[in-house]
Amino acid sequence: MELFKNVNVDWMGKAKYFVTLSLVLLAAGWISIFRSHGLRYGIDFRGGTLVYVRFSGPPPLDKIRDGLRQAGFANSSIQGISDITNQSSQNDVVIGLEQQGTGDESLDAGKQAILDVLHKTFSTADASGKQDFNSITPSALALYLTQKDPLNLGAAAGDKYNQLALKLTAARDRDFGGIVTGFDQLKNVEGATPAVISTISNGFTLGNFTIRNVEIVGPKVGAQLRKQAVLATLYALGGMLLYIAFRFEWVYGAAAVIAVFHDVLITLGFFSLFHFEISLTVIAALLTLVGYSMNDTIVIFDRVRENLRLMRRESFPEIVNRSINQTLSRTILTSGLTFLTVLVLFLMGGEVLRAFSFAMVVGVVVGTYSSFGIAAPIVVVWIKYRGQGAAISAGSAAEKRVAAARR
């Protein structure tokens, strides 16, 4: 099967449309950043407190909001999560507090306040002082079981209750997403005899929420991480510029770096347009797409270098057109496949990877386009400005290096 055969498109003749398209996309994104939504920084860069709670039923958002307001956290953000691939996450809520509550003295004051409100509003823990099974640790459960000894093992119990406690909590966390709604749900756990289950149900209540994740980032760290993210991106671009300048000519390196920089800017614009948060993992995605977009550009440049040797009569723009056409099926295939994989990740990878895969989905498309729409035209314009001779000498210099590398 072949999709692209003998393609013959005058890409360079259309360069001005590409540049216009890029400018429109850049403008749309950056108007959104500076004039409307702005860039939403995640907790890594902004600092603050984030508590991720799962409820056993539909989350009572209003009650949480009221509780927090009464506790003096009026500007807290409360967000439900919807994840099409994970039914139980429909009952998840993320509660966020801004910098407030992460003072110098006690970083976790905000977290404590949120936990207090949750316990006060929702906890079924009663006056009898029963513990909540949904928040008990394996070691505490093991201690309780050893004391009650439902299996009548006595001194022979040894490690058995520890193992049992581990299995019970693992079942709670893996099979029921951290929340058990009835003690008989535990009956399939290996070793959980009716005696064990009744002992547990006598000693514990079932709380209707569990803390899934807590993130607290102090203000200093936020600023530090922001700086590091920018530095990492700039250094990576610099490193690539050097490598390509070494393997080709510096104008190719510059063109490739301008193109991937363009990709990063457009992707950031999309983040603003679609309200996604910039987190540390998103920076990782941005750097990956920098490397990825660079791949596409290098494949085309490699071909240009090769064709400069073979086609001495054609003009430089024609050579570039030919090179893009020859590599087009590879470009579309690879990008298409990578696009599919990141799309799967976007749809199925879960909440934590959502923003990461969004960056990749946008980046793969923009990165592919920019290699022929931006990087190649820059080289063509430069060569035109310097005269055809420059192209030939660039080709032959590169040729010598290739020949040397082959040997």
């Binding site: 099967m1 991720y52 691939t85 994970n86 996450s89 970083l107 976790d108 977290k111 909590t169 966390d173 893996r174 997403g177 951290g178 929340i179 569990t210 803390i211 899934r212 994740n213 993130e215 607290i216 102090g218 200093k220 993210a229 530095l231 990492a232 250094y235 990576a236 490193g239 690539m240 393997r247 540390l280 993992t281 920076i283 990782a284 750097l287 990956t288 490397g291 990825y292 660079m294 791949n295 290098i298 494949v299 490699d302 590599t327 099926s329 295939l333 690879t334 496949l337 990578t338 599919l340 994989t341 990740l345 199925m348 990878g349 879960g350 934590v352 990877l353 895969s357 990749m360 082959r406």
Partner: protein, 540 residues
């Protein structure tokens, strides 16, 4: 099969066996399927975001240690100046590493210079601007740097001892290498770091000091007032609690203590807990002193029978019992301790004091249920994308697509095995890295196959088309991989935990990909061609 090709396959086989051995046959050779599964899960180290656990970043307030050194120097200098009868106006701490000495008597300037250069080698002296006969002492930068480093090392050691004593599994305690004076503490499986945090943060500085004044005062002003507004030399005011009568709640009071401690936490031989003898239901911390400290403590208590001695923890008087008789080497700390808080204090005392206080900068806790969900979703997404890619490859490139699928599978096996051998940590972004490796790994195959098709279209025979395809694509593949590795290296250098995991996975995946998509894939083609002979046709 020609000998060269045979050796290629032998090498590939060795790599496969090595990888599979590394994944399922370590640490023990499995005898059942369950054991294989167990080995596999044991060999892949999961990051905190997948396993659940706590991640803390804390900052050691190193400047405090420098300030303390400065205070010590001021005390020592004051003593020496009095001893050598060098008149001066005032000694003042300017900041953590500068001391200002004002109006040194002009006839004693030479003596003062001698004193500084002989007795205070850590300090440099210069005339203070705008001060007649004033001198500015500056701590030498090399001394400050040493002090910083020692403080950090000591803090790391102390925190490590404390956490090990808590008995948590596989903790990581290391410098972050990110910001200044930062230490990273990772506690896998710890769903609630509250207790660990308070144990880490406890100062743990124990001092036993004599009371300079048997009275206690309700406020600092009252304490000063009792001595005419000026403290007796060598004493200090320390806050504390005192139970005025049986059954009443303790009140905040202030003590006037001798500045120099009789013994400190460094003199402890052991610290344990026991139920309190005086307050039923409460606990106390008992400690034993080292033999050298006991030789000081015995005579001290003997000469102070009938007087009170303060037990000071982190500049706060816990109790100030009356000494009834000579005490050799034991003592206890009473307070409103529960069993757990008494155990934690004993632990902190055994592990030693922090050289400076600490502040928390970052706290992240991943619950075990979220980690389990993330693994499930990550694995599901990986398998789904793998299947999509494989189906496409086989449809589009037919038998050659099968070749690519084999290379891709091997790529993944090598990636996972390599991570197991290197002890690299798999994080959630790392799983994304695996998925990206699938996507980018396919790129190499596509590059080669498209090139082979092109050569075939140009009328080349199958064998030379394959050779040309691989040769021409080789440099492109190297170039594309190197640029991606460059960006991954910067991710590793600047990233933290999960992001680093991503960079590591990506780099290993790309290196493995060069091997599978060029070496393995070509060997399979060559095998096919060698069997078909001159009339070989490619299914591509």
């Amino acid at each position: 099969m020609n000998p060269q090709l045979k050796w290629k396959f032998i090498l590939i086989l060795i790599v496969i066996v090595f990888c599979i051995f590394g994944l399922v046959c370590l640490p023990e050779f499995p005898t059942s399927l369950a054991a294989v599964k167990q080995n596999l899960t044991d060999r892949i180290r999961l990051g905190l975001d997948l396993k659940g656990g706590s991640h803390l970043v804390l900052q050691v307030q190193v400047d405090e240690a420098i300030g303390q050194r400065c205070d010590q120097a001021i005390d020592e200098l004051t003593r020496q100046l009095h001893q050598k009868t060098i008149p001066f106006g005032e000694i003042r701490r300017v900041d953590n590493s500068h001391i200002l000495v004002r109006s040194v008597d002009s006839s004693s300037t030479a003596n003062f210079r001698d004193l500084i250069s002989n007795q205070f080698p850590d300090w440099t002296m210069s005339p203070a601007a705008g001060e007649a006969n004033g001198f500015l002492l500056t701590m030498k930068p090399s001394v400050v740097a040493d002090l910083r480093k020692n403080t950090m090392d000591q803090a790391l050691e102390t925190i490590t001892r404390r956490i090990n004593a808590l008995g948590l599994t596989e903790p990581t305690i290391a410098f972050t290498g990110r910001g200044e004076n930062e230490i990273l503490v990772q506690l896998p499986g710890e769903g609630d770091p509250t207790r660990a945090k308070s144990v880490i943060q406890a100062g743990g500085q124990l001092e036993l000091k004599a009371l300079a004044d048997e009275q206690t005062y309700p406020s600092e002003i009252a304490a000063l007032g009792a001595h005419g507004g000026v403290l007796p030399p060598g004493t200090e005011i320390v806050p504390g609690r005192e139970e005025s009568a049986q059954g009443t709640s303790p009140q905040q009071v202030f003590y006037i203590l001798e500045r120099a401690p009789v013994v400190t936490g460094q003199d402890l031989r052991s610290a344990t807990t026991s139920p309190s003898t005086n307050n039923p239901g409460r606990y106390q911390v008992d400690f034993k002193l080292s033999t050298s400290a006991a030789t000081r403590f015995g005579p001290f208590t003997e000469s102070h029978v009938g007087r009170r001695m303060a037990i000071v923890l982190d500049h706060h008087v816990y109790t100030a019992p009356v000494i009834n008789s000579r005490i050799e080497d034991s003592g206890m700390i009473e307070g409103t301790f529960t069993q757990e808080s008494a155990q934690d204090l004993a632990l902190v005392l055994r592990a030693g004091a922090l050289p400076a206080s600490i502040k928390y900068l970052e706290e992240r806790t991943v619950g075990p249920s979220l980690g389990a969900d993330s693994i499930r979703e990550g694995v599901r997404a990986s398998i789904a994308s793998l299947i999509v890619v494989m189906i496409f490859l086989v449809i589009y490139y037919r038998l050659s697509g099968v070749n690519a699928v084999v290379a891709l599978m091997l790529n993944l096996v090598i990636l996972v095995a390599f991570m197991a051998y290197a002890g690299a940590v798999l994080t959630l972004p790392g799983i994304a890295g695996v998925i990206l490796t699938i996507g980018m790994g396919v790129d190499s195959n596509v590059l080669v196959f498209e090139r082979i098709r092109e050569e075939l279209r140009n009328g080349k025979a199958a064998a030379s088309a394959v050779a040309l395809g691989f040769d021409r694509a080789f440099l492109t593949i190297i170039d594309t991989h190197v640029t991606t590795v460059v960006s991954a290296i910067f991710l590793f250098l600047f990233g933290t935990g999960p992001v680093r995991g991503f960079a590591v996975t990506l780099v290993i995946g790309l290196i493995a990909n060069v091997f599978t998509s060029i070496y393995v894939s070509r060997a399979i083609f060559d095998y096919h061609l060698s069997r078909m002979g001159r009339q070989a046709v490619l299914s591509i």
